[in-house]
């Protein structure tokens, strides 16, 4: 018999004569303590994210490119990885178009194998959208796509993320239900709750262990 058949046979034999445990999932317990008035969601999200070293900024759908331009200058970032085929990527490209002295915008437009070394060694920052956020835990929701692949939010040392204020949910359970996650998951979905960190040495917190050292969230209030 195969390993699979052996294992399953042993497990089934052990369950003979028993009935499955009933499903008594208590939705209230994972939602009620983690629900917030609409006005508090953003402030809670910011508070939790900033507590773990995330930079957050309130802005608008019209103004964020100018704010990002300023942040790039402040952080002295020479280039930014964007997804030009997304609406926000196109908006930023239009904002930068024809102007001198701005950071170079580059696109993730080919398989990673063709430019892995450049991605790792010469890509200081990136910009991605998000699928929303979770106020209960201070988490961004990312579902990478062909336009914004997985490594965009991981490899560059600085990650800028755009978040629409209207897409901040109360808790993880609510997100799963409202976005109908169980109906179909992408190849890779993520909750991101700050820049990469570790406390593996003497429990001293250090940021930038492997992923981004800086996470900057631009919250678009009128979106």
């Amino acid at each position: 018999m195969s390993a699979k058949a052996n294992i399953l046979a042993k497990l089934r034999k052990s369950l003979e004569g028993t009935a499955p445990v009933a499903d008594d999932y208590d939705v209230d317990l994972v939602t009620r303590p983690w629900s917030y008035p609409a006005a508090e969601r953003i402030s809670r999200l910011r508070q939790l994210m900033e507590a773990v070293h995330t930079e957050t900024h309130l802005t608008t759908a019209a103004d964020w490119p100018a704010l990002l331009e300023k942040l790039l200058a402040d952080k002295q970032l020479p280039s930014l990885l964007i997804a030009p085929s997304t609406a926000h990527g196109a908006q930023l490209a239009a904002h930068f178009a024809g102007r001198e002295g701005l950071p170079r915008l580059k696109a993730y437009d080919r398989p990673v194998e063709e430019w892995k070394a450049e991605l790792f060694d010469d890509t200081p920052a990136s910009l991605t959208g998000t699928l929303g956020a979770i106020a209960a835990t201070g988490s961004l929701i990312l579902w990478p796509t062909r336009e914004e692949p997985r490594l965009m939010s991981l490899v560059p040392p600085v990650h800028f993320a755009l978040l629409k204020a209207s897409e901040v949910y109360d808790n993880f359970h609510e997100v799963q239900q409202k976005q109908r996650w169980a109906a179909g998951m992408p190849t890779n979905a993520l909750l991101v709750s700050g820049p990469s960190k570790t406390a593996d040495i003497e429990q001293v917190l250090a940021y930038g262990a492997h992923g981004p050292k800086d996470l900057v969230v631009l919250i678009l209030e009128d979106a």
Binding site: A3, N6, I7, K10, L11, K13, S14, L15, T18, P20, V21, D24, Y25, D26, L29, V30, P33, L48, Y108, D109, R110, P111, V112, E113, K116, A117, F120, G138, P144, T145, P149, R150, L151, L154, N171, F172, W181, A182, M185, P186, T187, N188, A189, L190, L191, S193, G194, S196, T198, A199, D200, I201, E202, Q203, V204, A206, G208, A209, H210, G211
Partner: protein
């Protein structure tokens, strides 16, 4: 004993727990590092769960979610496999660690892999996968910062969440200076940046990434992986092949089941509401995607778990979600550290898991290395009754070798005919009033002959000595005097 004189953990055997513990207790540096770390972790857990109602009801819910999954485990494993396969993930089954290692090696050989980069995975520790691959000419490098530190020092993890918690910054500084030729610094940020630099190069070059799994969701065919560092994301995204290894018990029924378990796991482990990254992997790179592994494999490992599953009481061991809270609160673990156990899983949970993985013959003293203070059971996020399972394993440990009720491998490893005879005599004495009276008479009159050396008991206690007259005699005299 200073850190330089310590015996490398790879040489510590699970059969020598008493000896290892004795040595560990003499290591003042280790005890200081552990005490400081555990005090901090206990405080963080409590601060993250201030509402007793929410905490206790959520623990109850966590227990029910795990019990529900285990009550239909075979069905869920098949459903998980079907959904993962539909998503393009290749699923493999292994009864033993040898089989699991062979599966990983076959995949590696098919891809002519020379370098493997590994995110934190306790199951791969069970498999001793690094050594196995290295014996076959494949470099296997740990990418979790703590795991990387102890791999450099040829040690095993001391804690399932914080593998290098027994080391302080000075010891890591020495290590990086000696092994990596880095300038000596005790600045933790600088040390982490050194690790980042070395490991980034390895992520770039690796042929295969290996990871563990925190929860495998049958409903959607999703592998969930929680972490703070990003090394898990790197290991599962950058190399062209990703191999996940996990025990068969890690499956949960639905995606929503992850919600309470995730909350319990991260708060119980480190006092965090959530980890920096929660990865949900449901398949390899699609044809039109630009990154992610082209192949994803899942290896489902039994290695003694079906033995624990066979017994309704011991099955609760498999509820474990690997948060480490039980060890953070254990007075024994805090004093001897994780390496003294000589097992992959140390502390209270290790003392009930390891006998199933390794047999009681290889873990004879583990069920007894507990004060049964109950702290582990009180903090367990999924309410595993660890103290009562320890007592149960103690019973299995002293069963006669020919006992027909065979529960687990190596049972009866502490069976002693002399001890059994003594207990039989004790039972007889207490069931026969006249024998008890005769025994009492002689025990009190001959109390001067009581031995002063009663083996291990008298190492730390004075020898018990009967009173001059038994309570029965005194009571009788008192009543007759009236």
């Amino acid at each position: 004993m200073n850190s330089q004189a310590r015996i490398p953990a790879v040489e510590l055997s699970s059969r020598d727990l008493k000896h290892n513990a004795h040595n560990a207790l003499g290591d003042a540096q280790l005890r200081g590092n552990m005490r400081k770390a555990m005090d901090s972790l206990m405080a963080k857990r409590l601060a993250s769960m201030p509402d007793e109602y929410e905490r206790e009801h959520l623990r109850e819910m966590g227990n029910h979610v795990r019990a529900r999954a285990l009550s239909r485990l075979p069905e869920l494993l098949e459903r998980l496999e079907a959904n993962l396969t539909r998503n393009g993930v290749k699923v493999h089954w292994a009864e033993t660690t040898e089989e699991a290692n062979r599966i990983v090696l076959e995949i590696a050989e098919r891809h002519q892999a020379k370098q493997v980069i590994k995110g934190k995975s306790m199951v791969s520790e069970e498999m001793e996968m690094n050594h196995f691959l290295e014996r076959h000419g494949i470099e296997a490098l740990e990418s979790d910062m703590g795991e990387y530190i102890i791999q450099l020092d040829h040690e095993k993890p001391t804690h399932i969440i914080m593998p290098a918690i027994h080391k302080n910054a000075r010891q890591v500084a020495d290590l990086f200076h000696d092994r990596l030729g880095e300038p000596y610094t005790e600045d933790v940020d600088a040390l982490i940046q050194t690790g980042r630099r070395v490991l980034r190069k390895k992520f770039l070059e690796a042929d295969i990434g290996v990871s563990g799994v925190n929860f495998a969701v049958a409903e959607t065919g999703t592998l969930l992986l929680v972490e703070n560092e990003g090394n898990g994301r790197m290991s599962t995204t950058v190399p062209p092949v990703h191999i996940a290894v996990t025990g068969i018990e890690k499956v949960v029924e639905n995606l929503r089941d992850v919600v309470p378990l995730l909350s319990l796991l991260t708060r119980s482990a480190l006092g965090q509401g959530i980890t920096t990254y929660v990865n949900m992997i449901s398949g390899p790179r699609k044809a039109d995607e630009l990154d992610g592994p082209q192949e994803v494999h899942l290896v489902l490992l039994d290695n003694g778990r079906s033995q624990a599953f066979a017994d309704g009481e011991l099955r609760q061991t498999l509820n474990c979600i690997r948060c480490g809270a039980c060890m953070n609160h254990c007075p024994v673990y805090t004093r001897i550290g994780g390496q003294a156990y000589g097992t992959v899983y140390p502390g209270p949970i290790g003392k009930i898991i390891s006998p199933h993985l390794m047999g009681l013959e290889n873990t004879p003293d583990h069920p007894s290395a507990s004060s049964l203070c109950g702290a582990c059971g009180e903090v367990c996020p999924v309410k595993i009754p660890i103290p009562s399972l320890l007592r149960r394993l103690r019973e299995e440990n002293v069963k006669a070798p020919d006992d027909p009720h065979k529960v687990m491998r190596g049972q009866g490893s502490k069976y002693s005919p002399r001890e059994r005879l003594l207990w039989k005599g004790w039972r007889l004495l207490n069931r026969s009033p006249w024998l008890y009276r005769v025994f009492g008479f002689f025990a009190t009159r001959l109390r001067g002959l009581t031995p002063s050396n009663l083996g291990p008991w008298t190492q730390n206690h004075s020898a018990p000595k009967p009173a001059a007259r038994s309570l029965h005699e005194l009571a009788r005299e008192h009543l007759e005097g009236k």
